[in-house]
């Protein structure tokens, strides 16, 4: 076994993989900043409004067994929506003030929390 070659490959490999993905982080972060500046970040906000259900009820946040889930939407997705709601509550500083009562598939083609994308990703390749 050529120990030199081995170490060489390992170190180079790991460095290059990290280098490539760090470069991507920089590029994407820069891109995100540019786009936000250009568009004044108006559009994303609007999207948030659309995708967040208005707080209405007062049940505790953790999963409520009575939540109605439209057939065909997987458990997981409910989890995601729940998570999103929880996260927003965390931000707004008033936790545990409402629960998801009913989930329907949104009409929007490509919401930030891409439900369709997730389900498609489920196909095992």
């Amino acid at each position: 076994m050529d120990f030199g070659l081995a170490l060489n490959v390992i170190v180079t490999g790991i460095i290059v993989v990290f280098l490539a993905l760090i470069l991507l982080i920089l590029v994407m972060t820069a891109m995100g900043a540019v786009i936000t500046r250009l568009t004044g970040s108006k559009k994303p906000e609007k999207q948030i409004e659309k995708s967040s259900p208005a707080p209405q009820a007062a049940a505790p946040a953790p999963v409520d067994a009575s939540v109605q889930v439209e057939s065909g939407i997987e458990e997981e997705v409910v989890a995601v929506i729940m998570a999103a709601v929880s996260a927003m509550q965390a931000e707004s500083g008033e936790p545990g003030t409402f629960a998801v009562k009913s989930i329907r598939r949104s009409r929007e083609a490509r919401p930030a929390w891409s439900v369709a994308g997730l389900q498609q990703n489920t196909r095992p390749f």
Binding site: T12, V16, I25, G32, I35, P44, F125
Partner: protein
């Protein structure tokens, strides 16, 4: 006289039939193919690929029929050209690109780090394989199993060491199916209860413009840095650009369905049919299976450990459980993160956060593949 001829012809056919020429090695291979068919059909281990692979293995080991991928002039020999020339795996990546939502990764680019960390398993396994006596190209092909990405593993192996294609494909797809069993113990062993309970902040929404620029940028950066990754990454990103552009839906539909299905059938059967007794029934195969498991475990561990690092660096904002998703095996590994996290705290939803490292892992292993190809390729 005439009767004698008939007898002689039938004797001839009998002598040349498979029954007369069945050696125990082919028989064992056929039994292995039965086990794989069982795993694909009953246990649903990645059946889309494992079923064709297993049947290809069966065909390749039928005595006399000579239906293996290396047998010049046979049906599977011609279909195997698409593997040998490196055509099928990039086209599968085209389809995967049309099905992948990179949104969670764009929303949180730091996930790229976890997608990188989980590839360390590839290189450490490479070292192990080298230590066990495999040649450089063989060791590289074995290491890439740790990428947890079938087409990438098949692509690298077909270019570097295609006599191992059968074993490596079987190992890669089996372990991908076993992700929900392999990963959780490692994840739990390496994290504290407090870490596993971290609730992460909601991801920001991602605009369509960002989604369209993303595949172009990834193509540019990755292919410039590691040109040998270009066929895989280029096709993956073409698929994703087609998806996100929203203007070529009919092409997207075909790329992610019919084109992908046709190539999956051809790829599976011919990859399986490389596994003849001579190439498969060697101690190497057992080593490959062991090394593949090690690769998965190290990849998972590195992902989780890097997650812990980010947990510290961000002062507890990152849940280290999402690190294990960096091995790719989309979307299974991300679901595992979700489940392990939820076991600790039922109100914790890590799925979308884990999708970031998960899809980053696909890019990460393609980069690793490029590095290995650039070192060991012709």
């Amino acid at each position: 006289m005439m009767f004698q001829e008939v007898i002689s012809t039938i004797t001839d056919m009998a002598v040349n039939s498979g029954f007369a020429n069945l050696d125990w090695r082919s028989l064992i291979m056929i039994l292995i193919s039965f086990v794989l068919i069982y795993l694909a059909v009953k246990k649903e281990y990645e059946p889309l690929l494992l079923l064709p692979i297993a049947f290809g293995m069966l065909l390749a080991n039928l005595p006399v029929a000579n239906l293996n991928s290396m047998a010049d002039g046979s049906l599977l020999y011609y279909l195997y050209k698409g593997v040998k020339l490196g055509i099928y795996p990039p086209l599968i990546f085209l389809g995967i690109g049309t099905m992948t939502d990179f949104g969670p990764l764009i929303a949180n680019p730091k996930s790229f780090l976890l997608g990188a960390a989980a590839q360390i398993g590839i290189f450490i396994t490479f070292f192990g394989a080298l230590a066990l006596g495999f040649t450089g190209p063989e060791a590289a092909s074995i290491g890439i199993i740790g990428g947890a990405d079938g087409p990438t593993a098949i692509y690298v192996t077909s270019q570097l060491a295609d006599h191992l294609l059968g074993s490596i494909a079987v190992a890669a797809y089996s372990y991908m199916a076993l992700v929900p069993i392999i990963q959780p113990p490692i994840m739990k062993a390496l994290t504290t209860k407090k870490e596993r309970s971290v609730v992460m902040q909601q991801l920001r929404p991602v605009s369509k413009t960002e989604r369209i620029i993303f595949p172009i940028m990834v193509t540019l950066v990755v292919c410039m840095l590691v040109p040998d990754a270009a066929p895989l990454v280029g096709m993956l990103m073409l698929g994703n650009l087609m998806r996100e552009s929203g203007v070529v839906d009919r092409l997207v539909k075909t790329a992610q369905n019919e084109l992908m299905n046709i190539i999956t059938i051809f790829l599976g059967v011919t990859v399986g049919a490389t596994a003849t007794a001579e190439t498969f029934l060697t101690p190497k195969t057992l080593m490959i299976i062991a090394l593949g498991l090690i690769a998965f475990c190290i990849g998972t561990a590195c992902g989780v450990l890097f997650g812990k690092l980010m947990y510290v660096a961000t002062k507890g904002k990152v849940n280290p459980l999402i690190g294990s998703a960096g091995v790719s095996a989309v979307p299974m590994a991300a679901r595992v993160s979700q489940k392990v996290g939820q076991a600790e705290n039922p109100g914790n939803f890590l799925l979308m956060h884990a999708m970031g490292p998960n899809v980053a892992g696909v890019i990460g292993s393609a980069v690793a593949a490029g590095v290995l190809l650039s070192i060991f390729g012709k």
